[in-house]
Symmetry: C2
Subunit: 391 residues, 2 copies
Amino acid sequence: MSTTTPSARPGLTPLSTRAKATRGQTRTNNLRLALQIIFSDSPTSRASVARASRLTPATASDLVDELLDLGLVMETGTGPSAGGKPPKLIAPNPEGRSIIALDISSSLFHGAVVDLSGEIVTTRSILGNTGDAAIAVVADLISELAVSSPAPLLGVGIGTPGVVDVPAGLVTSANLGWHDAPVAAELARATDAPIHITNDAQAAALHEYSVHAPAVASLALVQVGRGIGTGHVLDGHLFQGENAATGEIGHVRLDDGGKRCSCGNTGCLETVASMSALLEKVGGDQTVSHDRIAEVAEDPAAESAIEAAAVALGRGLAPMVALFANREIVLWGEVTSLGETYRRIVEREIRSRVLPVNTEQIQVRYGTAGDDAVIRGAAALVLSSELGVVW
Amino acid sequence: MSTTTPSARPGLTPLSTRAKATRGQTRTNNLRLALQIIFSDSPTSRASVARASRLTPATASDLVDELLDLGLVMETGTGPSAGGKPPKLIAPNPEGRSIIALDISSSLFHGAVVDLSGEIVTTRSILGNTGDAAIAVVADLISELAVSSPAPLLGVGIGTPGVVDVPAGLVTSANLGWHDAPVAAELARATDAPIHITNDAQAAALHEYSVHAPAVASLALVQVGRGIGTGHVLDGHLFQGENAATGEIGHVRLDDGGKRCSCGNTGCLETVASMSALLEKVGGDQTVSHDRIAEVAEDPAAESAIEAAAVALGRGLAPMVALFANREIVLWGEVTSLGETYRRIVEREIRSRVLPVNTEQIQVRYGTAGDDAVIRGAAALVLSSELGVVW
DNA sequence: CAGCTTTGTATGTTTACTAAACATTCTTAC
DNA sequence: GTAAGAATGTTTAGTAAACATACAAAGCTG
């Protein structure tokens, strides 16, 4: 026991062991490992899986056979010889399972069926609602998508605004009129598939992570649109906190006094750094949309307002960088239409407010995903929760 | 594989599997589990270990036998019968291993030999130094303590001020005149025992956690003395970040303008909320010590200065609470001598600046440990790193 | 075509958890 | 004071899953 294997990466050191380990868990771990290798290096071979996993060829072969039996992967023919017997190629089986992914963070609820290769197969949108009716709308959306699903359901993933209590399955969202709404329990009556709910910013963070993993192990996604919220992947783990109200940085009061915020308080970060706040200052059409923000970005008269919003955001993010020692800070939401000038001011402002040791390696950039980041992140949540795999 | 065992606690969802699992790891995990149970419920019995671990009596018995062989636990006689054969009691063997723990965060370097029951067996202090000489002093301290160690060394734990790059073993500290100093590598020449270095606030957080685990799974320790720094345990994991500069909240710039800080910047949280800042405002003896701070706490003339410091700290901590959704916020350092009024203002200020959903359950309290928290935390770091156990 | 390389499988071993029976030693009830 | 019962802990046999080794299959290279 003295020769402890150190955790593969630094960052989060587990302090003690909590549950027994069994052969079955060993097997599950290795099945997931093999599946991840196949997802990452597709198409690949049994021999490659053995090399990448450091398992023996016999074990790797056996694992692949079990994954074939489960329908999660498939043989796709024969590959080129590397000086010997040519490999039988193994790849994810897109039609092995379906994932239903939902984004209910805007007034239109968006849903999709996603296959195991991460492709969106079907989409459907319904006008949203609030309160209990909203849950009913979501349940309908799931049922409709389930009918069109071409494969057994792996699970349902939902990205919602507000705060999610994951273990209890409760959601609190002002927009949706939910206060500790038992969304998971209600939806469980609409489908047998496991349901995974997360905050929209966390879903987007997960998607961003899955695009860049494993090169990037940690990142902070900062959603700036009508409001401001963050989602965090720390050392390959989605950080959801004890009561899941993590990343609610938009409602931190920066200034005493200050404008009144939708939360009832005054001087929140959102009142100075959100895109709503920017539009309020600029005047004209107040609809927070990519088009409208892009319009503002081009407007010379808006220059100082944009700078003020950028400075405020940088100021709000500085403590985050000091606490998490983030390297990757991804801006996402309507803010992505503001362009390079804005981004540079945010980065400069963070740098000027935090120790150099924390900012030497930071990178502030816009998210690579478009409007489907929440949907794709919700699907990624199901994939990682059910199969332990990241696209 | 579809029947995934959900992680025992929420908070940190692992996204994918990174390394193969083997029988050996199963065994190691279960040895650690058994050891943790014995540490937590000492004295206990083989049958109790089986029940608590959910392993079969045969396996639990075998694990305990191996722990006995390793000298980590011992039989301490026979316990009272519970209606049948009385148990042979099992307890940690205090003399099974020794841990050398160091606190080099003040001008006097403190060292101790700690036994496996967490008792401090020997202490020694040497006047510290800076630069390469400081490393030499630390090496001497380790050697001296190693000589007086009554048992085989489990490892050396060090709590240092500044920033630690754990994987590389580098330390950067203004106080000690270290910039990426290869402390781990240098000390490895003084001892064969594994060396674990962490930030002083993180060490204190670890100690605080070990006092309250497993009732508390996460906590933030806020060290307020000459400077301000935080250490975080998240869901039973010590959070050290990617480049380990986590928790450096003292040097976040709150106000443009503001006083000059030791870091070279202006307006840092430390310049308004540290105990140095408080003393500067109050006048008189400027030595940051418990006695001096207690004196200030009693001084009616200092009331407004204390309130200002408390307000500033609460303001600085608000983003932390919003991001981590902390429930337990532990104040530690010389600040603990400021008393209840100060604590209450800090708590009030945090509550007024963050969403209610984040503050409903928070508790701001003073640390339970005294000046030996860093030493004890450094020892706990060794114990958890080498044996996977928390006291 | 011989020899080498790579892929993949087959056979048997080892490790460590499980299951079930049992031995041991105490308490309780009659 | 003896029998029944209960809790502790061990023994024996069984099994899952990784490992070690050998080897078959299928290609490339000279």
